[in-house]
Symmetry: C2
Subunit: 204 residues, 2 copies
Amino acid sequence: MFLVSFVPLQPDLPLGSPHERSDAARNRERLLCAARELVDEFGAEALTMDALACKAKVGKGTVFRRFGSRAGLMMTLLSDAESDFQRAFMFGPPPLGPGASPAERLTAFGEGRIYFVLENGELLKAAGAATRNRFDVPATKLSHRHMEVLLREAGIADPWVMAMSLTYALDPERIVDDVRVRGISPKRLTDSWRDVVARLMRPA
Amino acid sequence: MFLVSFVPLQPDLPLGSPHERSDAARNRERLLCAARELVDEFGAEALTMDALACKAKVGKGTVFRRFGSRAGLMMTLLSDAESDFQRAFMFGPPPLGPGASPAERLTAFGEGRIYFVLENGELLKAAGAATRNRFDVPATKLSHRHMEVLLREAGIADPWVMAMSLTYALDPERIVDDVRVRGISPKRLTDSWRDVVARLMRPA
DNA sequence: ATAGAAAGCGGACTGCGGTCCGTTTAGTAT
DNA sequence: ATACTAAACGGACCGCAGTCCGCTTTCTAT
């Protein structure tokens, strides 16, 4: 059995920091707390780094030292939920986790992701929007890798590229906007996903 | 035969402007010219609205009056090329235009779009990035509609949603980054697209 | 306890997209 | 020609993400 380490969901600085100074720890807590309050009250979209610094009674530089960027902050805020989902599709029970066929797992993965996105949509959109190459969101990379493996098992010719296509088809911005802006029901999205996977993976 | 009007690629103000004032026309020309020079020299990514205003010897307000936003400017810059591609898949010869089977047309459409994106990648990325809901890029809407029609002809259950999935899979940012950042060859992209379409549309 | 070094801090500053509004100018009606 | 009006103009201004750098705090070694 391999020693698996989770993808760090927040790029929270060069791993293995020897010791976090006490003032740094205190400020990080203050910032996360303030950020959660602001998101709850006004939504992730509306959160500005200045407002956060102000609310947490901290200098703006400190905010960026902690999180690197707005996207980094959003990823940190997401990390608990993402970790749960990661665990579920990597180690959880089938059909999401190992034990089911690739097609079943991929179907379950997409459905899970759609619901996950709908619950954490604002955060995910904000995390993706604020980043060059939304693909450099670590969770997205892992997602891609997972789909790639399943597609390979199913005998797809170029699983890497096809996984990329599917990654983009599950883009948070797309899902959130389909549901909230264009009025598509989540059920239509998951049904269509089932259909896509079934068609892609059924034997010739 | 229907009277078909092209989707206006630049939201270049409330259609049917009665008369464009001569100074406005002059400035529009100056702006487009300056914009093209800046893009040629430094790339679309690097074009700033201030620099454009300055180079065109025009106030910044004028730039935004003309084009509405950075995205609007990019769309205007793209409009010739986009129109050609639109014409090709709507009225041109098969397999891109009418006359071939839906599967063939969809395959050709994706391939065409991939090459189109690779030629005009910077502009497209800039146009899409600068817009909330990249779906409100008019050309994207038309693209979606085209794919929806083809999918419906092929008997797909929810062509609207599936077309949306495919739209995102052909996202300019995705394609450009796959090729330029992640080193995927265009051929792998088009091959994978062929594969996806073949699998999606082959009869049960 | 104390001194030195490194990590952390804060907020002024930059650059950008986009808005606002008082001023100018092109067309039109007389 | 003249006066009037609506359109166009320009650039100061705003809010935001992200950077910079001189100052402060915490930890460590003695």
